[in-house]
């Protein structure tokens, strides 16, 4: 019986994530445009893009191998899997038995590993450039992320994200603790780096020498491109969810019941909106950094993570 409930919860959470992911991308674009007093594309544009791309044919580079075709699958599926390991509307993530926060980090790394290989497979200089930069930046973002994660895991005494969320129940103001705030700061910087946002990467760019993510996927077209784009917005959504639900876990339903889930979804959308606003503000207030300034930014995140860790037992 529990197995069936878990499966139902998993299907529901997965569908919610899949449905909301392009919306978040669209909402950020629209809000950004409004702040710049542009009209911007409609908020539904990412859905239209995916729909359009799925209808189209595709061109496979003649230098590419089977790895080129496997990559979109892996990128999409790993992002979707991470969605099942993270609490979204209820404290209990459907598949939290299969892995906690460490599995989340490493599954995303698996997707990135294949994406970088896909970038190299076509044989263009752009692909290699993107792969090299993507792997470099994510590698130096890793220690800051791990320190922030350790801070959270130590105060919850678990790496299981459901347990982390549960441990916060009854302590709604925990996020005001110095360690939590510092860890949140570190994680927010990592979020910006991992999702390729300004000031680390510019998601709106095509064919610029500064691009990272777009350079890797330059040779993808049609349905494969749709899978990668959808996977990228899924990854962005699950990382945001990880951030809001670990540090601000209020409103999470304690069980998968209809009213609980509805209320949880309401809270979740509000929190998501808040984090999107934060991302938009950061994107508008900053210019894109030179690639070799990014390590400085990530060093700030690392220092924040270290301070967070030390303040877990000082305060």
């Amino acid at each position: 019986m529990t197995a069936i409930r878990t499966a139902l919860a998993a299907v529901m959470q997965l569908l919610l994530f899949l449905a909301i992911a392009p919306l978040v991308t669209g909402a950020i674009r629209t809000m950004k445009a409004r702040l710049q007093t542009r009209r911007g594309p409609a908020i539904w544009q990412p859905y239209r893009d995916i729909h359009k791309l799925l209808q189209k044919g595709m061109v496979i580079p003649d230098t590419a191998s089977w790895l080129f075709s496997v990559t979109p699958w892996v990128v999409f599926i790993t992002a979707a899997m991470v969605g099942l390991l993270i609490p979204m509307v209820a404290t209990h993530a459907p598949l939290s038995l299969f892995g906690g926060v460490l599995a989340v980090v490493y599954l995303l790394a698996l997707g990135r590993f294949f994406l970088a290989l896909g970038g190299l497979d076509a044989g263009t200089p752009f692909g290699g450039l993107g792969s090299s930069r993507e792997m470099t930046i994510s590698a130096i973002a890793e220690p800051a992320m791990m320190l922030a994660i350790f801070t959270v895991a130590i105060s919850a005494n678990s790496t299981n994200l459901s347990e982390v969320a549960k441990s916060a129940i009854g302590q709604s103001w925990r996020f005001l603790a110095p360690s939590q705030m510092l860890a949140f700061g570190a994680m927010f910087i990592v979020l910006i780096a991992e999702t390729g946002r300004i000031p680390v990467d510019n998601p709106a760019t095509h064919l610029e020498l500064t691009m990272i993510h777009e350079a890797m996927i330059l040779e993808y077209s049609g349905p494969y491109l749709a899978l990668i784009e959808w996977g990228a917005s899924l990854k962005q959504l699950v990382l945001m969810t990880l951030l809001v639900n670990t540090f601000f876990p209020f409103g999470l339903s304690s069980a998968w019941t209809a009213p609980g889930v509805a209320a949880g979804l309401g809270y979740y959308l509000v929190k998501l909106f808040a984090i999107c606003c934060a991302v938009v503000l950061v994107e508008n207030a900053n210019a894109k950094m030179r690639l070799f300034r990014v390590p400085d930014l990530l060093a700030v995140a690392f220092v924040l993570g270290t301070l967070a860790l030390i303040s877990t037992f000082l305060f």
Binding site: Q55, G57, T78, L84, Y106, G123, T124, M146
Partner: protein, 677 residues
């Protein structure tokens, strides 16, 4: 049953060695006999170790040597059996691989000699892992060091091979010297040379004696394991050996150091002082991080893999160091968890590193180059090798659901739990070590994107790569077995964990496999299901189920959609060539710039021009990075040694009369000393 299999295996190795010497040269016999007998011996040892691990019996045999103090004592306890299991698994796969690999050697090289040393190395490794007294252990250790030296120097016509061999020889013997001193001190305290007496007399070890013994053994075993800063021989010696030997060296020979540390630190040393554990942990973190950072700068495929061995030894020592700290602090169950993390990674590293070296050997065999900048496009020419190499690359990068992920996950959990074991500031060490481990793992993934992407993907960068052909079925079979083992040890981790109970009961004083298995064997847990679980098998199953979604999406209007193959976009230039591709050097350039403080890169650009410097005829670019350990640490030591040697030349006049006088004087002094006492 166990004894028959064990000694049968040793006999087979011996027969293989003899066959290598007597089989007719320039025929197929040396290859077939040496590899075949080594394969047979490996299978028998595999049976012996599995039987021993399954029964939990501590088999012990002693063969008197007829010389005072010396007996050939073999003991197959849980720890020994575990290392024999790793060794024999590698022996089996490498022997199968060598059946194909050595075929190319038959015309030019003496395969028989290679087979002789190969079998001697396997037999001496077996003896190292099972020796039950210090004397025999040192003899086996020397046999192992010498036979591996001969194998490293196999291509001795090349200058670089000879100098790498000498470096290995010198470093290895400096290490053996430390071990000898360590065993002498230990036996002086305990009054015996038997390992069982060392173990029972461990409570008496305290204070400076214990510290001296710890440091001597750490240095001695550290040289063999390749910890930083004693690693300098490793990236020289491993690449120059024939690839099947490189695989054996990186897979299991360096693990002798790990075996020795496990044996001495946890069994003979008594209660280790806290600083000992901290030292091991810090050395582990430094080795892991610097190992991978130097690996990233390598474009020689085999040197790159050799540096990754240093990295993985570091990861193993992170587990060992924290286990030692937990024992001192009194947390035996946690110590068992950390020890399992280290030992599991020992096995995993042996398997995927062996796989990767065999893959590199296959590439070398097919494309005749070790330089990654000359490779490319091999995935189409050597599809099976490419697939096996990819499995190894995913495993070594610690990505789920393969075996590297499981052992790294256990290491993280041990470090995380370590934070609560003490109130002092040392607790910060654990999470910081965890963060640096995360950096190491991410850099390893970067390095293997480079290693796989540049070697196998896109267009061939040279004619050699263009003409590469797939290796024969022996070589592919050897690699395929290891690739399957990578998957099995990842997905079936919970089935494998009970193997460690016998080891941790003796070394850490707790059996924890029951706590580490959650949800009826479906998931791994970190001591308790609340603390965190992970299920590689569950993740793999979820992956398969979720692949329905992209499958459905790609099925939309499939019949109407066109899928065409076209040229890669070339920015309007006339066609894309391999010169447009990203190189290995360019791939790691950002990291070279970010970590410039460490690498101290030097570059030199020379341009030739006739009229204006804006129109150069030819440009030469040279770049190198500093090797701080050689320049800052070893060169001064070398200078001191040479200066001392020059002084000593005064008494070595070359006159036989003077030498006879020295002997006479020494004899008189010794006699006087003997009479007085």
């Amino acid at each position: 049953m166990i004894d028959r299999a064990f000694f049968g295996g040793l006999l087979a190795y011996g027969a293989g060695a003899v066959a290598g010497l007597i089989a007719p040269r320039r025929s197929v016999w040396p290859r077939v006999l040496c590899c075949g007998l080594a394969l047979f011996g490996g299978l028998l040892e595999l049976c012996a170790s599995i039987l021993s691990l399954a029964s939990g019996a501590h088999a012990h045999w002693e063969i008197p040597a007829g010389v005072p103090f010396l007996a050939y004592g073999f003991r197959l306890d849980a720890l020994s059996s575990y290392f024999i299991l790793i060794l024999s698994l590698l022996a089996v796969t490498i022997s199968i691989y060598s059946l194909g690999y050595l075929r190319a050697f038959e015309e030019k090289k003496t395969v028989g000699l290679l087979g002789f040393f190969y079998n001697v190395l396997l037999a001496s490794l077996t003896a190292v892992f099972t020796a039950s007294n210090a004397f025999f252990f040192l003899i086996a250790w020397e046999a192992m060091a010498l036979s591996s030296y001969c194998l490293v120097s196999f291509h001795h016509r090349e200058e670089s091979t000879r100098s790498a061999g000498v470096l290995y020889f010198v470093m290895s013997h400096a290490g053996t010297g430390c071990l000898l001193a360590g065993f002498l001190l230990l036996s002086a305290r305990v009054g015996s040379l038997e390992f069982s007496d060392f173990a029972s007399g461990r409570a008496e070890l305290t204070g400076p004696w214990q510290a001296a013994i710890f440091l001597l053994f750490f240095a001695g075993f550290g040289v063999k394991a390749g910890i930083i800063p004693l690693h300098i021989w490793l990236p020289e010696a491993h690449p120059v050996a024939p690839s099947n030997i490189s695989a054996l060296m990186s897979g299991i020979v360096i693990k002798c150091g790990i075996y020795g540390m496990a044996r001495v630190f946890f069994e003979f040393l008594g209660m280790p002082p806290l600083w000992a554990g901290i030292t091991v942990l810090i050395v582990g973190v430094v080795s892991a991080l610097l190992g991978v950072l130097y690996a990233l700068m390598e474009h020689d495929l085999k040197r790159l893999l050799a540096y990754h061995s240093i990295e993985n030894i570091g990861i193993i020592l992170i587990g060992f160091g924290s286990a030692m700290m937990f024992i001192t602090l009194g947390y035996h169950r946690l110590a068992a968890l950390a020890l399992i993390a280290g030992l599991y990674h020992t096995m995993n590293h042996a398997i995927f590193k062996c796989l990767l070296f065999l893959g590199a050997g296959s590439v070398l065999h097919g494309a005749h180059t070790r330089n990654m900048e000359e490779m490319g496009g091999l995935i189409g020419r050597m599809p099976r090798t490419a697939f096996c190499f990819l499995v190894g690359a995913i495993a070594i990068s610690g990505l789920p659901p393969l075996n590297g992920f499981v052992s790294e996950w256990l290491t993280y959990q041990a470090l995380l739990a370590g934070f609560g074991t003490t109130e002092s500031l040392t607790r910060v060490l654990f999470p910081v070590a965890g963060a640096l481990l995360a950096l190491t793992a991410a850099l390893a993934a970067t390095c293997f994107v480079k290693a796989f992407g540049i070697t196998f993907l896109a267009l061939p960068r040279s004619e050699k790569a263009e003409r590469a052909r797939e290796s024969d079925s022996f070589m592919v079979t050897g690699m395929a077995i290891l690739a399957v083992a990578c998957v099995a040890l990842g997905l079936g981790a919970t089935l494998f964990l009970p193997v460690f109970d016998g080891i941790t009961a003796r070394l850490a004083g707790a059996q924890v496999s029951g706590d580490l298995i959650a949800a009826g064997g479906l998931a791994l847990s970190a001591g308790s299901a609340r603390g965190g679980t992970v299920s590689p098998a569950g993740l793999a199953a979820t992956f398969v189920i979720l692949s329905v979604i992209p499958g459905l999406l790609l099925a939309v209007r499939r019949s109407k959609r066109k899928r065409v193959t076209g040229p890669t976009w070339d920015c309007g230039l006339p066609g894309l060539t391999s010169e447009n591709e990203y190189t290995a050097f360019a791939f790691s350039k950002p990291l070279r710039m970010i970590f410039a403080a460490l690498y101290q890169p030097r570059r030199e650009i020379q341009a030739e021009y006739e009229v204006s410097p804006y129109y150069p005829k030819a440009i030469r670019f040279d770049s190198e990075i500093e090797s701080p350990f050689e320049e800052r640490l070893y060169v001064p030591v070398q200078r001191v040694v040479l200066a001392l040697a020059r002084r000593m030349r005064a008494i070595q006049a070359g006159s036989i009369h003077a030498y006879l006088a020295y002997i006479f004087v020494t004899l008189i002094v010794l006699l006087l000393y003997g009479v007085r006492s």
